[in-house]
Chain length 261, copies 4
């Protein structure tokens, strides 16, 4: 399991959201509260949008709590839309390429969850990545494979639809042969303008997801980084949609019964 | 490109072969002579056989020349059969999982070479790995994929035959659609008893391979680590076979014309 | 704070003591029980004695729990006397040179504890290292500085006396100007034959120390790695002495009142 | 030896100067031309000034040529004054804390050079660091020690005077007992407004230093990153001074005979 934060709003230094809060993501890297993994020390990452057409990435294998570079970068990097993630590995190696966020073209993705029996299902999930995107498969995680499958399913035209399509296929996979493997998918997705955050699970309890909205600012998190009362829980099987210059909306991920569950 | 050394003989500390010689592998990591890459600073690895049924591995992403651990381990590890490798990446990431040697069951493998247009051919080469071995695919290199394909092609029954079979398939792949991609394969393979070293290329010049034999000791190298005159060049398209307690032999890899070239 | 284990006995693979037990050191790296730091993820190290006159070292900055090399090495390295340590940094950087154990000539040292207000006292502690040993100051921790001071205080002639002398000086330092800084020193020391384990504190509670004896085997630990009832607590201000081929003894570190407290 | 670049001018993305040029610093990390060390693969660093009162730092131990983060950061970080450095270690460990640039308050420093017989002279050079600055001694290099000595010698009042004072003391040290140790000091220093670049040596040949000026832009480098004819060599024993909004000047470091040589 992992912990993450996604920010959309006024351009700001990351530190106010990633390192400074009382129960910041860096604090969560050593002691998370709402996670099955208390320690999220298997690497971390930052992803953000700036002037360049492609997002920036900083990913490291050491724990977030001891990385001096992270503190400097969170102080000096500014963005109107950024992701930060601390990782608790679920079986795949601790490499930078397995750290979140993942980038593909304009898109950033990060994830807290897993595909059950990954060793058995991996090949089938990887087969969902189109040939043209397979060179972007830099690591070995379930998360990256699912992301590239989503990109390939038409993310530019309809990001929620593409995600829905891939989750539908994943549900079929985990339920094949009556095995009912677990699937958890609490993730964030962005093209630099719009921010989407998904909370979904099949055959399992969905990982936590909260958000806070203040004017144009929308912040989605695995767990609140402070004790203020304005955090709103996103219900399971729902998506937080925060399109550029629009207020946040919570929409159901699937119409009743369509996930193939 | 990479540099490597494979040792079979009396049980010995690695340092006499890996760190101490005038032009040792560690020296070659910063300045190789017979390689297109003068610097082999993209990680390194040791693999060896001891009392345990499975071989040991030590793989690191930092350059061999600055790793203090490597010096201690080469002084303290002893084996009758060990591999050491310094890496010059050819497009895939610098992670431990992409460093050589690779281990699968009793088998160790390391490689100097590449499959041309890896991004395009990767999927087809990965498809050569049987399902049962796919969980052993820990990294993203061409070398590891080719190794697992060889394991899957019947390595336990006939290691040279399995290698020949996979190289035959690779030759078909690189020649598909008349593209004649380059393929270089200078590699070492062992089960802890027998040592095999291959020198092969298709549509390209084969990377260098030498060996030296002294009593029961057989040492295969990418390039000699000293100026003694007893290094023997293995000809292209040949295999060095050093079976347990047997003298080394050089045998042709393919009967004339059978590689599918 | 940190967790460690020191083994003296029959030559054995490390894995039976470092990675396999129910509450092994690797488990303690992610969740220690008797420590102020539950997570000991700031690097780790192994030190051991073999045929070579100088001990071997393997130190890494990543957490012990995710290091593949550690598992291989604990399986393949054998010794009659070895140290293993997982680190929770107390202010100094996460570098290999700051990971324990530390080696100097034949001697190995590892530590769980700290010198209070290290930034203020560091220079004075470093001044206790003789010039001839200052090139061995590779890192910046209090632990390494204290070790080199002990080496310089006559470790070869009288290791307990040298440690006593240095602890006496440290007690004077931490009590200077009536400041009563904290000092904790729970450490292991060996020359490859004899094993010493110290439990001491000034102005503070001493960190835990246990040992178990079984025939020629003596194992000292920060906290027990299993629930067997034969672990014996070493009292504060005492030393466990396990000289080569001798039974373990517990002796007072200071005669009453002589620590300069 | 090392290679570095210092930029002062219009706010720009680093990539145009650090990663894109034909013979960029990243290219120099694997193959420098005017250096005794052809490979500068022992870590690297970036230092820069932004809105925050203190400069930013990104330092890594892996070679610059294989760091994906470096490419992203050079594309996304912007500054009017930044430093970049690739390291070839001269005896001290490869840790982030030993990578350049070094920061202290508003000041950044990076260095290509060494203090001869560092193991013997280290203590005397460290003694030149005032107590108040000793907590900023995070690594073990000669470069960092010399920088902190310069900061302590009155850098805020007179940076050139402070450097001159410390170089004078170093000259006395290396010449003590008639030993005439080598000293090379080709370095860059900045407070975020003014840029200074020094070229100096005692008992040795000074390392190369060039600069280019174009309007408000001043770029100082170890060796030119392109073949344009407008690079000007800074003579040995001279300083390049580029004060905020002023044209660059070359001034002698010492009046004849005053270095204590």
């Amino acid at each position: 399991m992992c912990r993450w934060i996604a920010y959309r709003g006024e351009t700001t230094a990351f530190e106010h959201y990633v390192t400074e809060p009382e129960h910041s993501l860096v604090t969560q890297s050593i002691r998370a509260l709402e996670s099955t993994a208390g320690t999220n020390g298997d690497g971390f990452g930052l992803g953000w949008y700036g002037d360049h057409p492609e997002p920036g990435l900083y990913r490291e294998t050491r724990p977030a709590w001891s990385d001096e570079n992270l503190r400097y970068l969170c102080r000096h990097l500014h963005s109107h839309l950024f992701f930060a993630h601390v990782r608790a590995a679920t079986g795949t190696a601790v490499t930078r390429q397995n750290c979140h966020p993942f980038a593909c073209g304009r898109w950033l993705f990060m994830h807290n969850g897993f595909v059950g029996s990954w060793n058995r299902l991996r090949r089938k999930v990887e087969a969902m990545i189109p040939d043209a995107l397979y060179p972007s498969r830099l690591g070995t995680t379930d998360s990256e494979a699912v992301f590239l499958a989503i990109v390939g399913a038409g993310i530019d035209q309809d990001p929620i639809g593409a995600t829905r399509k891939v989750l539908g296929s994943l549900c079929q996979l985990v339920n094949q042969d009556g095995l009912r493997e677990h699937l958890r998918f609490t993730s964030a997705l962005s093209n630099g303008h719009d921010l989407y955050a998904f909370r979904f699970a099949a055959n399992d309890r969905a990982n936590s997801l909260y958000y806070r909205e203040d004017g144009d600012q929308v912040i989605a998190v695995s767990e609140p980084y402070d004790r203020e009362p304005d955090w709103i829980e996103v219900p399971p099987d729902h998506v937080l949609v925060a399109r550029a210059s629009c207020a946040a909306e919570i929409v159901p991920l699937f119409a009743a019964g369509t996930a193939g569950l």
